[in-house]
Amino acid sequence: MKTAAAPPTRQDGAVPDREALHAIQKKIQACIQCGTCTASCPNEFAMDLTPRRLWRMVLMGETDAIFTSQTFTLCSACYSCTLRCPRGLPLTEAMHDLKQMAFRGHMSRYKPSTAFYGHFMNTIRRHGRIRETEFISRYFLTMTPSKPMLPLSYTGLGFKLFRKGKMAIEYPFAAPGKRSLEKIFQKVESMEASA
């Protein structure tokens, strides 16, 4: 059994209340706890809560425990669970909803994930595509004040990726298709604001 993480801090972002979970509960209420999601999940080994446990807690409204867990941030949206769920529940979507709640709540616990996803999307917004070097540099910039040694810990992996051509030295503002996605992002923002 996995050990749960330390209790949540409420200083810089409140844990959503039980009501906030209601929409997610509605989506997964027909769950029969069969465990297909857990057994299907390729990232389950890294999760502190198995997906089935997470859903059980969502159904029981245990917000504190849910927002102590990193499980939903580790969901890589492979959709295996959604494909296989015998109840046809939108589990990947529900994982996404949890991420949204956590990131919008600015909980410090999720700062690395928030920063990671945030810079990823911002890079795309700026260039119309992902630019790995810029994206990871910005991520490190956000993280170093609290974790100064973080970039160093990725040095080895970084060199490997460079060597294999997975990452390249890029000129910051010379990408094609620049700003072409901006309109879409703006539209989504206005839709979300009115929703």
Binding site: K2, Q25, Q29, A30, I32, Q33, A39, M60, L83, R87
Partner: protein, 1144 residues
Amino acid sequence: MQTKIGKALVIGGGIGGIRSALDLAEFGYGVTLIERTPHIGGILSQLDYQFPTNRCGMCKMLPLVERDASSQFCLRKGLFHENIDIRLSTELASVEGEPGQFKVTLRQEKNPVNPELCIGCGKCVEVCPVDTADAFNAGLSTRKAIYLPVPHNIPNTYRIDTGVCTQCGACQDACPTGAIQLLDEGRITFNILVVDDELIVRDSLKEWLEVEGGFQVSMAESGPEALEHIKTHGCQLMLLDIKMPGMDGVEVLQKAKELFPDLPVVMMTAYATVETAVEAMKIGALDYLIKPFDPDALIPKVIQIYQNLSTPVGPELEVGAIVMSGGTSYYNPAEGKDTYGYGSLPDVVTSIEFERLLSGTGPSGGKLVRPSDGRPITRIAWLQCIGSRDTQSDADFCSTICCMYAIKEAMVARERAARDGAQLDTSIYYMDMRTFGKSFQRYRDRSEASGVAFKRGRVHSVVPDPSGEDLQLRWVATDGTVATDHADLVVLSVGQRPAEGAQALTDMLGIERNPWGFVQTEAFSLTRTARTGIVASGAFAGLKDISESVIQASAAALAASQTIHGAGGSIGLKDCPKTIYDDVARQLPRILVAICTCNNAVTKGLDQAALVHRLQNDPAVKQVHFLDHTCTAEGWQQLEDLIKKHRPNRVLIGACLPYVYTRKLKQLGRDVALDPRLMEVVDIRSASLQPEASDNPTAAGIERILTMGIARLRHASPNPVPTVPVFQRALVVGGGIAGMTAALSIADHGFEVDLIEQSDQLGGNLHWLHHLIDGQEIEPLLTETRDRVNHHPQIDVHLTTRIVAAFGQAGTFYSTIEDGDGQARQLTHGAAILATGGSEAATTAYGFGNSDRIITQKMLEAQLHDGAIDPKALKTVVMIQCVDSREEPRNYCSRVCCPTTLKHALALKNANPDLRIVVFYRDMMATGFMETYFTQARKAGVTFIPYTLDGKPEVAVGATGDQRLMVTAHEPFLDRPVEISADRVVLATGIVPSLPQDLVQAYGVDQDEDAFFQEAESKWRPVDALKEGVFACGICHSPRNIGESIATAEAAAERALRIIASERVASGSIIAGVHESLCALCERCIEACPYDARMLDPDGERIVVNPVMCQGCGACAAVCPNDAAYVEGFDADQVMEVIDAALN
């Protein structure tokens, strides 16, 4: 056998159809049993083993009284009954008319093999060049285009699968009897018009259909051209593309139908326009074909359509009622997502394929070897709920049967491995193990004790092990442990689906289907549809195991019988001859031997005169004659003339296929006034086909067979078959819904019924039940049924009355009843039905009695009804399932509690959506369509927490003023304790029967270990006692809901009607007797008799045998120390003489 004018049509020759047909036939109606496939038995022809015996036992469904009216051998091989006309490869073509007078026509598929000439030698198979998947072995092996549909059938005629046959003619040349007539003249003149704008489609279709199909094909490239063609040349079938420039296919169809309304049109469509094709079928298209075409699939389909169109519809039949017993089909895991690799991994098989692997007639001859490489199987994994409880495969229902068959398969596989001295691991991966029948839980426990591993978790996919040796399953246990298991065979427990063709059949009959696609039946009835006289039998109305299918089949027979009776069908057949055979009891045997030469095929090279001479050495043999063809009408007439001329008192016919003659012999017996038991047909044809081993084996073989027949006949008893008188009245004990239904069912057939009820009112448990889970009100059912009973002229209701004593046997029982004033009187009746009911079990578990907030489900039902509970005033309700149930001493599932809990949880949630409801359960028994309500309860927010026997929840009553209830338990998914403060704790305590032991004993029947009625056989005789004449229904039989109780009541009534239908019933010809001079009255035979047919005569001086109850099993003869007990037809002299003849 008494025959009535009433007739019934039974559609479907599976177990349900057979049961319905036999019940109706035994009552005296004429039954036409049609079956779409070339064999009867349905799915059961493929299944060798049934739980709980892990054997078969289907033959126990055969008639027990008037046995001689029916065949008396393995029912999986075939069935004959005087009153049943079985028509194979036959479908319903049309139906018209009203209940009691339906006019139906049937269409029988042509078979190029003539069954009267085919002797089953198999020479055709040796030469057939076509190999195709063998459906009998679920595709695990191949067969030829000419094949035996079921290898063990009797009679077993070869058939040609016209869909794959290339018409090469090899079999026709090889057939020694000329039974095969391949050439289908019709096809050459059958004109098919192919309409498509693409030349390549037209050309390839023409090529395929002309060359491989043998049809005549014309082509048109546009709608107008096609219409012009049919106007000028006509055609018999149009294959019509949907998407064409200009006039599209649908428009062409409309115009063509205006010109020729009867023109058969088949649409051709790309996958994208399938919906249009379906729409086209609504305006008259026959079917549709999906592009791109696969010739292997297309040609058989066109041939099928051709055959349906060219097969003439048979003459119109008039039937009083129609029983639909189309069975079910099974989920095909290759459809849909198929995460289990079925179809690509050869060692992933369905449960039906595994049954074939277990079978001695299966692809591996019953050896447990892997389909992929033939290696012995060492680890088998069963995956449950494949295509069940899965909304992604369109199944928001539980298929009901899979849990039990998986356990059975595991048990049988283990037995097989133990026999072979092999190691075998067996694991069943499940979510809820639905052991909902009364003996199921103990069966599961037994399997667990024998080593079957039960693993709670759903396996989502199967992948090959990286080593390629076996298969990998990844799953998560309840505690969250993720495990990867290995197996070398994975069995997918596939669920049920509506039968193939169910839609077409129900549409033709005008019957609604329920939301799950099965037949929609009326409220509280599992058999009656909205159309009177058309009833559903077996699993056709959905999700039944064998036992329930058989109950349902008898109930359907009853419903059909009521309609037939209502239309006057019970009147005896006017021209039914009252047979009087010549009394030959005091004559010496005079045997006439008739030998069929089969046009000299049998007797070729046989010295006829010598054979006659040798046979006539026996003084009993008076005449020996050779006939050309006894199977033809002409040959049969010659035989009849011979008998009339010589007046023998025994007749031996040497011919082939003896079983074919059963019906013919009966007719001959009537015509020549000789008891058909004194005539016998022996098979000399097989002997003539034996490989030649010595000089003239044929002659020796034939002679041996004939002398054995002579020996048997010489000793055949000339005495008429005994009959016993029947008191045509029934007694029903118990006035609940089951008892009332049983009484009404019998009384509606014009027989008088005594209905005994110990309380002062009828209705039983219906008094406190108010609604079904679907909202159906129960009170009207009670009122209506009670009123009908009270006003029925044939029903005598005895309230505040009980049975104090009873004795008797099938046909005549004497029961002493005592009323409230202590007045006793005796009733006589021919059959007894026990319907004494049951009640909610009492409990002291979970603190019941310590607080008025700890209540049972029955109390909750009452409190919800009378308003004692206000759901809005409650915050939390805890419900606990399986209280004192499914563990010793009450180790059975009460079946109704889980649905009741769901019903109440939904009602509470409906009244107060904010109410928290927590249900503690072991396995939710939401079987069948009840699964939908389980889903609904979850959607409504009910929390379900499983518990195990060693971790039951605990209930504590608070010491403080408000006395809140505190429930503590272990939450297994989160793996931590939970504590719930509850306003109410509701206990599901289950059902206990109220079947007094002295009552059971009085009628000479048994209770099971939980004091329910012990049925003769849970699958094959589910409502009968082992002792004929006593039946049970309702919840004294087994826990069940109202609809299911009514079904058992109707089934029990139908079974009782078979007996009381006639003034006398005849026994079988093979029955036991007593040589009184040898009998020492040790009474061992009475103990040995499993059918309670023997008893000590009241004056104590002799043993008597009730001939109707005796089944001729011979147990008595085996235990008798003095040879006083004997079985007719098997006495020592006779058997010895037959053996002597065989060894000569």
